[in-house]
């Protein structure tokens, strides 16, 4: 196999890589010009379809296929570029926008041409203040040079790109939450179907794609679908920007073929685990994706193989490394706090469930945990999300997965913690007690699909163990 040549990040280290001058000097916009002046939109869609490019935003859906869902007889199409990047530990879109904004604009332009969208909105999280400024300058430059605007390259195709800033809500990264937010409303995800391709922004057919997905497009058109498919692993083709943060010596954003292992990323690219310690666990792709144990470091991080570890998926390919001094109670407490904070509150199971997770973890952390809490958490996690079909969007799955994985893979650590950290002042609330024991809130338990505790109620009825009885 030939040595891997980075393409998405090839300009990252070039001085002034964010300027149009440098971008065009390095061949930029020549692919867009070629595509717009010599190809049909259908042919472009076909090339992207043939490349088997899969979305980099988290779900891994085939991009070309998604584009074919747009109705043939549509009159107007919108493009939404998902630059909300709020999944904890993820920062590759930021690198792409700050260091090579024109690559993204060229990708948007070609993708708009392919889907016949004349307006693209880059929905960018507010916190990316520098990226916003850089993108706006880049758009102005591109427009002045005729890469955007009317009748681009004399092709008769018009395209405008606008930057639209978010306001600090994680849920606006979910594609329909993003659309609602763009329309000026609260970012409440919509019930699907209809999918955005049929009815999206302003009730018109809409394409939503991630920044990195669109950055791949010019390279696919320039080098061909088979080049793209020559990189990566089966069903996971192409280059990918992985990010590594947490307990490593050198946190990085690095471009590699899809399917590298966590071990490779940590040891060869991130300078190894810090302070000479050992890796205990790795969060594979943003915290929503769950948790890999140290035994799973040789699993390929692509769209398919990672599922073998029981993780939800590749997500954003953003690794957080946890060293062997890290308490997984702290880890889980942190993820539960995040999702309780970010649930949009629209679906009862998610709003209440994430809050319940958080309260329970908080109590466990404070020394009021009971072993039964772990069963309750686990069964709640099993019943929460679009996978079991109880919520509108995938935030709930992301909230549940860390619990599933952490408890399935590291249960003894949680049991140990509960046994050895009893603090009588931090006991469960009466409502938590009542619900757990099935009284008097039985109907609630059946409704949310919890199985009753397998231990006979009599064994559970006594109050939680005092520290002395619990510490072995």
């Amino acid at each position: 196999m030939p040595a891997f040549e980075p393409v998405l990040s090839r300009n990252f280290q070039v001085p002034d890589s964010h300027t149009l001058r440098v971008y065009t000097e390095r061949g930029g916009y020549s692919t867009a010009r070629h595509v717009l002046t010599t190809m049909t939109p259908e042919a472009v869609v076909q090339v992207v379809k043939d490349s088997e490019l899969r979305g980099r935003g988290g779900a891994g859906f085939a991009t070309g296929l998604k584009w074919t869902f747009l109705p043939k007889d549509r009159k107007e199409t919108f493009m939404c570029v998902n630059a909300d990047e709020s999944e904890p530990a993820t920062f590759n879109n930021r690198w792409l926008m700050e260091r090579d904004p024109h690559q993204l604009l060229e990708g948007i332009l070609i993708s708009c041409f392919a889907t016949q969208a004349q307006i693209a909105y880059i929905y960018i999280r507010f916190e990316y203040i520098n990226a916003t400024r850089i993108l706006e300058q880049a758009i102005a430059e591109a427009r002045a040079a005729g890469h955007l605007g009317r009748n681009i390259y004399g092709s008769g195709f018009d395209c405008e790109i606008y930057v639209h800033r978010g306001a600090g809500a994680y849920i606006c990264g979910e594609e329909t939450g993003l659309i609602e937010s763009l329309e000026g409303k609260r970012g409440w995800p919509r019930i699907k179907p209809p999918f955005p391709a049929i009815e999206g922004a302003f009730r018109k057919p809409t394409v939503v794609n991630n920044v990195e997905t669109l950055c791949c497009v010019p390279h696919i058109l320039e080098r061909g679908a088979s080049w793209f498919r020559s990189i990566g692993t089966p069903k996971s083709y192409g280059p990918k920007l992985y990010t590594v943060s947490g307990h490593v010596n050198r946190p990085v954003c690095v471009e590699l073929p899809l399917g590298v292992t966590a071990r490779e990323l940590i040891d060869e690219h991130a300078g190894g685990c810090w302070k000479g310690r050992k890796v205990k666990a790795v969060v594979p792709g943003g915290i929503s994706m769950g948790l890999m144990s140290a035994d799973e470091l040789d699993v390929k991080l692509d769209f398919e193989e990672i599922r073998k570890t029981g993780c939800l998926g590749l997500g954003t390919a953003a690794l957080t490394v946890l060293d062997d001094h890290t308490s997984l109670v702290d880890y889980l407490y942190n993820t539960c706090r995040f999702f309780a904070h970010e649930s949009c509150g629209q679906c009862t199971p998610c709003r209440e469930g994430t809050a319940w997770f958080y309260k329970t973890l908080k109590r466990i952390k404070a020394g009021g945990g009971r072993l039964e809490d772990l069963d309750l958490l686990r069964s709640l996690a099993q019943n929460l999300g679009i996978t079991p079909g109880t919520t509108i969007c995938g935030l709930a799955d992301g909230a549940a997965w860390p619990i599933r994985n952490a408890l399935d893979k590291f249960r003894p650590e949680f049991e140990d913690y509960i046994r050895t950290h009893q603090n009588p002042a931090a006991g469960p609330t009466p409502l938590q007690e009542a619900i757990f024991h099935g009284r008097p809130a039985d109907p609630l338990i059946t409704q949310i699909g919890l199985s009753k505790p397998s231990t006979p109620a009599s064994a559970l009825n006594p109050p939680p163990p005092t520290p002395s009885t619990a510490t072995h």
Binding site: A89, E127, Y170, K185, F338
Partner: protein, 182 residues
């Protein structure tokens, strides 16, 4: 304009900036977030009266503007300081000591998270992942400056630095970090 508001709060120049965004969208309601951002930036908050004036401009009801505004954690009804600093508490920062930094910053200024220093210069807020995790534990100022990796002494320097006021066009790399430990 509504006759009951003879002296509008939102100045004409800001109104023009808001109106200039209308052609970008199929309807005016989509300008809600951009308008709120412009107003927040101008007044360092979104005053109640401005809400109604935005609604007027966008031809929607004040309730609709309020509904949107209240959903997002970003807009405030009381003015924030000259510089707003967010300190990250998400996973990659927390495991490198991020949780303590928020406390440290607040106690040095004698405020709670979300509060503003008595001199009105700095507002400190907690944040979920700021997308600058390679600099964890990290913080961000609303002028775009990023800070990290931080420790308690460097948080002190951060506070001194931002007390001097906002800057324009900051670099994309951190403006302040704790000295690397051997």
């Amino acid at each position: 304009m509504d006759a009951s508001t003879p002296s509008p709060l939102i100045p004409e120049s800001l109104r023009d900036q808001i109106r200039a965004l209308f052609p970008r969208y199929p309807n005016k309601r989509a300008v809600t977030l951009p308008a709120l951002h412009l107003v927040q930036h101008h007044f360092r908050c979104v005053p109640h009266r401005a809400l109604a004036e935005i609604a007027d401009l966008l031809e929607i009801t004040p309730a609709e503007v309020h509904d949107t505004m209240s959903f997002y954690g970003f807009f405030t009804q009381a003015p924030v300081g000259d510089v707003r600093v967010w300190i990250c508490r998400s996973l990659s920062c927390m495991i490198r000591g991020g949780d303590q930094l928020l406390e440290h910053a607040c106690s040095r200024l004698g405020i709670q998270p979300g509060g503003t220093s008595p001199d009105g210069k700095i507002t400190i807020e907690l944040a979920e992942c700021l997308g600058i995790c390679e600099f964890a534990p990290a913080a961000l100022a609303d002028d775009g400056r990023i800070f990290g990796p931080l420790d308690e002494p460097s948080v002190d320097r951060l506070l001194d630095l931002v007390a001097q006021g906002p800057v324009t066009d900051p670099p994309i790399s951190p403006v302040l970090a704790a000295p690397a430990r051997p």
